[in-house]
Symmetry: C2
């Protein structure tokens, strides 16, 4: 925007009809075009929401108090705003925008609020769960590129609940991480570990997000799954999960994470596999091949999708640092 146009308007007597343009104008004084654009869209949608619902003072106050509670129940190990974003479908949407997937690559899923930054690094074949009540399983995986070449040295974060459907951080007396690990792929792209068969579980519903679900007559359940996160420089960061087929919540995941391509079947280890991997014959077995996409390829696809989508929305934009801003030239 031309600097001459950004002089602050005389902001008096603001009304239902002119408050938006004035707020946008006063928010447009900074040099960061991306921030200006994001704030312009944010304020416009926020105000349109209030105008279209004729939001009452009572509802406004209830919403602001709700948001305070969402912030206040959050901690180092519980991010209630991520949970709120999850149940509103925003998390899935943002992941789909930021991590477009070409055909044959592994699709993304929601991060959820329970990823932590201090899991133990384990060797191939170790167990990531110490829950004696869990049904043991063997997980044999590879990580490759779209052409089938193995990718070595990928850092893989894996996390799942215990057999009661709780993550380690949900226990107040937790002494050390459990049900989570970091593992690295070998030169053949292989990584394997022992875990427990995942179970469906409700997302934490003892807080404000649970109250909202209750008001909306929605259940808080997620189908059984194991989370995976893949990181290696040069490769697009992949956050995903594997879901177990025929879970009762397969088609009604409270956080919208399930994708057909991420639904997997357990088989059981035959004698040879059992011997090779040091498990009992008949142990539940999960085999999966993950496919990563190059960072550059993802960037090109993301840019292309952004420009196409915004053109379709009738917005004239250009990309700065791969993010859209209005193209006013």
């Amino acid at each position: 925007m031309d600097p001459k146009e950004t002089s602050i308007p005389a902001m008096k007597d603001l009304t239902i009809d002119n408050i938006t343009e004035n707020t946008v104008l006063i928010n447009s004084q900074g040099p960061d075009q991306r921030l200006t654009y994001v704030m312009e869209r944010l304020v416009t949608h926020l105000h349109d929401f209030a105008r279209e619902t004729r939001l009452s003072t009572k509802e406004w106050m209830a919403a602001l108090n709700f948001l305070v509670r969402v912030g206040q129940i959050s901690s180092d190990v519980r991010h209630e705003f991520i949970l709120l974003s999850d149940i509103l479908g925003l998390s899935l949407l943002v992941d789909a925008i930021d991590h477009p997937k070409p055909p044959s690559s592994t699709e993304g899923s929601v991060l959820g609020p329970f990823h932590t930054h201090d899991p133990p690094t384990i060797e191939h074949g170790s167990s990531m769960s110490s829950d004696p009540q869990g049904e043991p399983c063997l997980v044999l995986c590879t990580v490759k590129d779209v052409k089938g070449n193995p990718i070595e040295g990928v850092k893989i974060d894996i996390w799942e609940t215990d057999s009661t459907g709780h993550y380690d951080v949900q226990y107040k007396d937790l002494e050390s991480p459990d049900g989570r690990c970091v593992i690295r792929s070998d030169k053949d792209g292989v990584f394997w570990f022992k875990a427990i068969v995942p179970v469906p579980y409700p997302i934490p519903h003892d807080g404000p997000v649970g109250q909202l679900l209750l008001l909306l007559k929605r259940h808080p359940w997620r189908p059984a799954h194991i989370h995976f996160m893949f990181e290696k420089p040069g490769w697009d960061h992949l956050i995903t999960a594997l879901y177990i087929r025929n879970d009762p919540y397969e088609t009604s995941d409270a956080v919208f994470g399930v994708k057909q391509s991420l639904i997997v079947d357990f088989t059981s280890a035959d004698a040879e596999t059992a011997k090779k991997y040091g498990v009992k014959e008949g142990t539940k077995l999960l085999k999966h091949n993950f496919v990563l996409v190059g960072e550059k390829e993802t960037e090109v696809l993301r840019d292309k999708n952004a420009l196409a989508a915004l053109k379709k929305l009738g917005r004239k934009v250009k990309l700065i640092d791969h993010l859209p801003v209005p193209d006013v030239d």
Copy 2:
């Protein structure tokens, strides 16, 4: 919506293009039509915002962490989400929607985050401020209806900062409320009290809202004002403020609260007034007549405005408990 239409869709493989309709559908299972409508508009705007900005995972995470901080700095005496709503123009907008004002009535202004529920009730003529550094002033007011009839027994909450621009609750060692009071209008609609001449002050900018203002190159200042809130059964709740003319921030209030009709002048008490009200001659004097609107009259006007505005927006609605919901019959 017909119950048959609200069966949960098979929510798998949700994409940028279908996540919104599916989220809306799963949020539409409850019996509360107003909640369903508000959530439908909320989810639609939230998702459109992400699609129009192609919101990145990094920006999404930064926003969620910002919201956690807004919640966590909030307390019984600091509501950072109200402050956030204030600087985004939402507070002014909601007040304008909920409290429409017919001509000749007193306009509303923003509540702000510093109203408290425990101010001392004072007698007419008492002082609401004990700040010896403040410039004393005498405030003589009436509260009447639009026809000029006095309204007796209105509960009036009044609050202002001290001479340094801080509200009492901003002091950690506060022993008792200061700079705030409750007073009641007499049979002539009169209420009067002693205060100090208000000063401009910055809204609290040591928290996340202050950081946002900094990013946006916005100043945090509000022009000098005194807050007033009027309550009496049968009368529309009035939240307003009086602003002192020629304040340097008169046209750039950080929270968009100033209205021309709320800008007032100080005069000074002449000998007669000084004697009558027990102040020194020459004491700064503020006289103002407030005009309340009947609750019923406001309700009728609010309903009329809502229906007209939504018709203009092309939305077919009906009112339930005076709030719009889609009219699908």
